[in-house]
């Protein structure tokens, strides 16, 4: 009803100071809502990027074959082929699957790898390491080696090895020096240190080394295929869905990073729950504020409501006038709060440039639309009680006041 809208807007503009205060109160609530959304979302993003940013989001590993059995018709086991300790399960068709997976929506990079354990020896120093063989040119597909490399280059070629700072220091190795590598298969070779990186993760910096895929084939005696395929996604939260898709498409054992991160997910969920509580309290504050202000307005305007009723205004008209006031306050406060929230978040670095020591506020996770819609709904709900009270005003009593 256009006319009810006019009355409602006139009531709001008639007492500008009160309306400005009310809208400001709602805007502050919305601002808190948006700030909390950006903080909780940004914090989750920051934690995830620091904990799982340098790992594969989906890993496909070769399934270990069960030992061969020879069983006679009555079920008795006649022969068992024991699993060879040095035999590594491989994905022999990796060359077929890799380009296919790379084309899936949401997949950022695919890195076929050969991994295994080994020892690095230099003089009397020996270090146990995890050796990862990657295709030259794909060194930074999963872990950001290009960013972390502090000396030399992350580029890997035959005869070269790249390792973390801690490992190089343990072995007293400098760039360009040679190190003896012995794999768990007993194959030994000598490689030249071509790059030293610092990721900040002790496990990666102190116990991992990268070599070329061809070098890894030699070390682990895998002439064909790879031991695993690591996949990086554009959105790590999509890992579960994309892993299911890969499993259904290829039949391979694709595991999302979330499979081994139950505790992290619990912590993030708890953090998100805290955020929901805080946002809910902000909304409740808005609702109480709007309801109390409109209730006061209802009381103050009782004589006018009585006159309106005497002049033929139906109860529904009176209800609509007050609900519209609530809606306008909610909309104005929502838009103002959302605008202020956005402006306040602008100076903070974007999500991919979060730094330790600063608030990880993600401007893209402000939930602006949600904040405005929830505020509008909350303000409308808050106005229903005062509106019903206004509609029940007895015109005879009210006019006589």
């Amino acid at each position: 009803m256009l006319y009810a809208l006019k009355i409602a807007s006139r009531y709001l503009t008639a007492n500008k100071a009160q309306t400005v205060l009310l809208v400001t109160g709602v805007a502050v609530g919305v601002f808190i809502f948006i700030f909390m959304s950006a903080l909780i979302g940004g914090l989750a993003e920051f934690i995830l990027s620091r904990t799982v940013g340098d790992i594969s989001h989906i890993t496909i590993q070769a399934e270990t074959e069960d030992p061969s059995l020879l069983i006679n018709p009555d079920g008795a086991v006649l022969f068992i082929a024991e699993k060879g300790v040095t035999r590594t399960a491989t994905l022999t068709d990796a060359a077929i699957w890799t380009p296919m997976i790379a084309q899936l929506q949401g997949v950022k990079a695919v890195s076929p790898q050969i991994t295994g354990a080994g020892f690095l020896t230099r003089g009397a120093q020996v270090s146990q390491v995890s050796i990862t063989g990657v295709q030259p040119g794909q060194e930074s597909a999963i872990i950001k080696l290009d960013t972390y490399t502090k000396e030399g280059s992350e580029r890997i070629a035959a005869g070269l090895i790249v390792m973390g700072r801690d490992l190089a220091d343990d072995l007293a190795l400098s760039l360009g020096q040679s190190v003896r590598v012995q794999s768990s298969n007993g194959v030994t070779t000598t490689l030249t240190l071509s790059g030293i990186y610092e990721s900040g993760n002790g496990a990666i910096d102190g116990a991992r080394a990268y070599v070329s895929l061809s070098t890894a084939r030699t070390l682990f005696a895998i002439p064909q295929g790879v031991t695993q395929i690591e996949i990086k996604l554009n959105d790590l939260n999509a890992a579960d869905d994309i892993a299911i898709r890969i499993r259904s498409l290829t039949g391979l054992d694709a595991s999302p990073w979330t499979d081994g991160a139950a505790q992290l997910m619990e912590a993030l969920n708890a953090q998100a729950q805290t955020g929901y509580f805080l946002k809910t309290f902000a909304l409740i504050t808005i609702v109480i504020g709007v309801a109390s202000a409109l209730m006061l307005s209802t009381y103050r305007r009782r004589p006018e409501i009585g006159i309106m009723r005497a002049m033929g205004a139906k109860q529904s008209f009176v209800i609509f006038v007050f609900v519209m006031q609530g809606a306008m306050i909610g909309l104005l406060g929502g838009l103002t709060g959302a605008g202020l929230g956005y402006v306040a978040l602008l100076p903070f670095p974007p999500r991919d440039a979060f730094q330790v020591g600063t608030l990880p506020l993600d401007i893209t996770q402000g939930s602006y639309g949600l904040a405005i819609i929830l505020t509008l709904i909350g303000a409308i709900l808050a106005s229903i009680l005062p509106a019903r009270a206004a509609a029940r005003v007895d015109p005879v009593t009210a006019i006589g006041q």
């Binding site: 256009l2 005497a310 033929g312």
Partner: protein
């Protein structure tokens, strides 16, 4: 003169038990179209209660009330509101205008709540009424900028906006100086003559009552004259 309304054996009791107060005690009244009637009586005699019931703002405890052929005793709140909007106008002792609106907006209110908006035709009629009330220079003034007499004339214009058959005026000049009071009453008399609107005017003032062609006296909840 055709009948406009008829009330029979109207009783109105406020409260109950020991504190029950019977204000109207079987009052009966007939009004015809185009009448201009003064309702006289001492304070507390039941004049205002009678006007409130006739204006469908309050239901009687018992009795019968029919207007324009409709039995208003059985109508619900929504039906009474619609009836009041279309057929009854009010002028109160205190102007009771909406304070945040202009003179014209106040006059348009009964029409706008009926139509859901302020139509061009309604605006034209509203302006015309205010001109007839001598307020052509105050049409778009906020009501807070008007004098008491001007406000009461706006209230009269508002009461006439939907061309009601009946206007109930409860001490319409009680809050005005004598010059303003006579000015308002002359306007009412002019409207009554020109448009045939029935006026029922509650007053203590004999001069005001003198302008009416019929006088009714309420005493102890019944009509005595």
């Amino acid at each position: 003169m055709t009948a406009l309304l008829a009330v029979t054996d109207l009783v109105k009791t406020f409260g109950s038990g020991d504190v029950a107060t019977r204000v109207l005690r079987g009052l009966s009244l007939d009004l015809g179209n185009g009448e201009m009637v003064a309702l006289l009586g001492a304070s507390g005699s039941g004049k205002s209660t009678l006007l409130t019931i006739l204006g469908t703002l309050m239901k009687p405890t018992s009795g019968h009330y029919e207007m324009l052929g409709q039995d208003l005793m059985v109508a619900n709140d929504k039906e009474l509101t619609d009836f009041r909007n279309s057929h009854i106008g009010f002028v109160f002792q205190f102007h009771n205008l909406l304070p945040d609106f202009t003179a014209l907006e106040n006059v348009l209110f009964p029409s706008a709540v009926r139509d859901g908006r302020e139509t061009a035709a309604a605006r034209a009629r509203g302006r015309d009424l205010l001109v007839r009330m001598g307020l052509s220079s105050r049409i778009d003034f906020p009501t807070s900028h008007l004098s008491g007499g001007q406000k009461q004339r706006v209230a009269v214009a508002r009461a006439l906006m939907n061309s009601p058959e009946l206007v109930l005026a409860d001490e319409p000049t009680g809050n005005l100086d004598s010059a303003s009071a006579m000015q308002v009453m002359e306007l009412i008399a002019q409207i009554n003559r020109e448009e045939g609107t029935t006026f029922l005017i509650s007053t203590h003032d004999d001069k005001i009552a003198g302008l009416c062609r019929r006088k009714l006296i309420v005493r102890d909840g019944v009509l005595t004259g």
